[in-house]
C-alpha cells in the first residue's frame, strides 16, 4: 500500500523545510548556526514514529479480515504477535530517516560530531519508532478500530511538540519550559541533536538512553497487556 507510506515520508521532509524556513531565525537567535542542525533530528524522530504507527492500520486490517483470529489460533508465541509488527515498524521508520538526512545535507547541515552524530540520531529515531509502534499496538488491541491510530498520532504529536521541538529549553518561558523539562522526549532530542550541535558525549547520551529504555518497557508492556485483554 504505497498510499499508506507516502504521507509518512513526505510530511517529515516538508516539515523540515517548513520549520527551517519559518523558524530559522528563532533558532539562530538561540545560538544555533544552521536551522537544519536543529530540525533534522526532530524530523527524523517524528518521521520515524509516524511511519512506525502504520502497524496500527495493518493490525486493524488483519482484525477486520479475520486474519488476526487465525494468528491467535496458530501455535505461535503470543509475544511474537507484538514483536513481529514492531520489527516491521523498523522498516517503515527507516525510509523517512534516510530522506530527512538527504534533505539535511542539501540544506547544508553541519556534522561536528562526525559519524557518531548519525548513530545517535538513528538510535533516537528508531527507539521512538518502536515506542510509537508498541503504543499503537496496545491501543489497537484495546479499541479495535481506526480511532486507535488517530489517538496514537495525537499522543506522539503532543509528546514531541511539548518538548524542545522548536527551540532550546533556555529560550522557552512559562508553562512550556516546565513541561518540556519533565518530558522524556527532551532527553531523547538532546541525544539525537548532540552530534549536529557539537561532539557526541556520554553526558549528552545517557539521559536519552534512559528515557528511551523507560518508554520502550512501558509501551511494550502496554502492547502485551492489550493483547492479553483482547484474548479474554
Amino acid at each position: 500500500m504505497p498510499a499508506a507510506f507516502v504521507p509518512s515520508m513526505v510530511m517529515p521532509v516538508f516539515q523540515l523545510i517548513a520549520f527551517s524556513g519559518a523558524f530559522g531565525a528563532a533558532v539562530k537567535f538561540a545560538g544555533i548556526k544552521n536551522a537544519m542542525d536543529w530540525y533534522v533530528p526532530l524530523n527524523a524522530v517524528q518521521g520515524a514514529s509516524f511511519g512506525a504507527m502504520g502497524v496500527s492500520f495493518g493490525l486493524i486490517n488483519d482484525m477486520q479480515t479475520g486474519f488476526f483470529d487465525r494468528l491467535l489460533m496458530a501455535p505461535t508465541k503470543r509475544w511474537s504477535l507484538v514483536v513481529g509488527p514492531m520489527a516491521g515498524a523498523l522498516v517503515r521508520a527507516a525510509l523517512p530517516i534516510v530522506l530527512v538526512f538527504v534533505v539535511g545535507f542539501i540544506g547544508g547541515m553541519n556534522v561536528p560530531g562526525g559519524p557518531m552524530a548519525f548513530v545517535t540520531i538513528v538510535i533516537a529515531a528508531i527507539g521512538i519508532a518502536l515506542v510509537a509502534a508498541a503504543f499503537a499496538l496496545g491501543l489497537t488491541f484495546r479499541m479495535r478500530n481506526m480511532g486507535a491510530a488517530t489517538l496514537t498520532q495525537f499522543a506522539v504529536f503532543f509528546t514531541i511538540f511539548l518538548s524542545t521541538s522548536q527551540v532550546p529549553l533556555a529560550a522557552m518561558s512559562g508553562w512550556l519550559h516546565a513541561v518540556a523539562r519533565m518530558n522524556p522526549m527532551t532527553n531523547v532530542l538532546r541525544l539525537a541533536r548532540q552530534g549536529l550541535l557539537g561532539d557526541v558525549t556520554w553526558s549528552g547520551t545517557w539521559g536519552g538512553l534512559v528515557a528511551l529504555g523507560g518508554m520502550l518497557v512501558a509501551s511494550t508492556w502496554f502492547a502485551l497487556s492489550g493483547l492479553k485483554s483482547l484474548e479474554k
Binding site: 510530511m11 516538508f14 517548513a18 523558524f23 530559522g24 522548536q166 512559562g174 512550556l176
Partner: protein, 261 residues
Amino acid sequence: MTLALATRHTAWLTYRSVLGRLRQPAALTPSFVFPLFFAALGSASFSRIADRPDFQEIASSFLNYAVAGAVAQGVLFASTSAAGDLATDIEQGFFERLLASPVSRTSILLGRLGSAMVVAVVQVTVFMIIFMAFGARIESGPIGFIGLVGSGAFLSLAIGGLMSGMAIKSGSPEVVQGSFPLVFALMFLSSAFFPRQYMTGWYRTVADWNPLSHIVEGMQGFMNQPLAADMFWRAWLIPLGLAVVSIAFGLRSLSKRLAAL
C-alpha cells in the same frame, strides 16, 4: 426560479450544513484544538524573541502575533472539513436526492459555503475570547474585532469555494482530505507562524508571493496597530477576490457534474 426562492434554499441548506457540523464534534475538534495549541506553543517558545525591539514594531507579544495565524489555521481546517461533508453527500447519494428535488442548483454549493462562513464567525469569536482571556489585546478596538471576524468569514469562503469545487469534481471525501496538505503547506509558507521579516532566501520569496501572508498580516494589523484602511484592504479584499475565483471554480465544477448526469 426567483432570487428570493434561491436565497431561501441557500439559507435552509446552510442551516442543514451547520447542524451537520454540530452533530460531528469530532470533525470540528481539530479546527479548534490545533490552532489554539500551536498559538500556545508558539507564544511559549518564541516569547523571548518578542522582546526584541525589531519584533516590538510587529507585535507587542508573541501571543498577539500568533492570534492571526491561529484564526487563519482554524478557518482553513474548518472550511476543508465542510467541503469534505459535501463530498460525503455526493458519495452517499444525498446530492442526487437534492438534484431530484426542485432546489436551486447554485444553493447546493452556496449553502455549504454559508455554513463554512457561519462556523468561521463562531470560531473566530471563540478564539478571540480565549486569546483575550490569556492576555491578547486588539489594538484597533471593537472595529478591529469586526475586521478579524470578517476576514475569517471571507477566508472561509475562499478556501471553502476551492475545496468544494474539488469535492464536486471528485465526489470523494478522501480526495478533499488528501488535498489538505496543500492548504497546510500554504500556511507554513507564509507569515502565519513567524514574521516574514525574519525569513531569508527562497523561503522569504515564496512567503512574499503567498497571498495568505498578506491576509494574515492584515489580521495582525487589527491585533497590533491602530485602525487603518490598509488592514481591510489586505484582510478583507484579498480573500474576497480569491473567493470570487474559487466560487467560480466551484460553480463550474457543479455545472460540469450536472451536465454529465
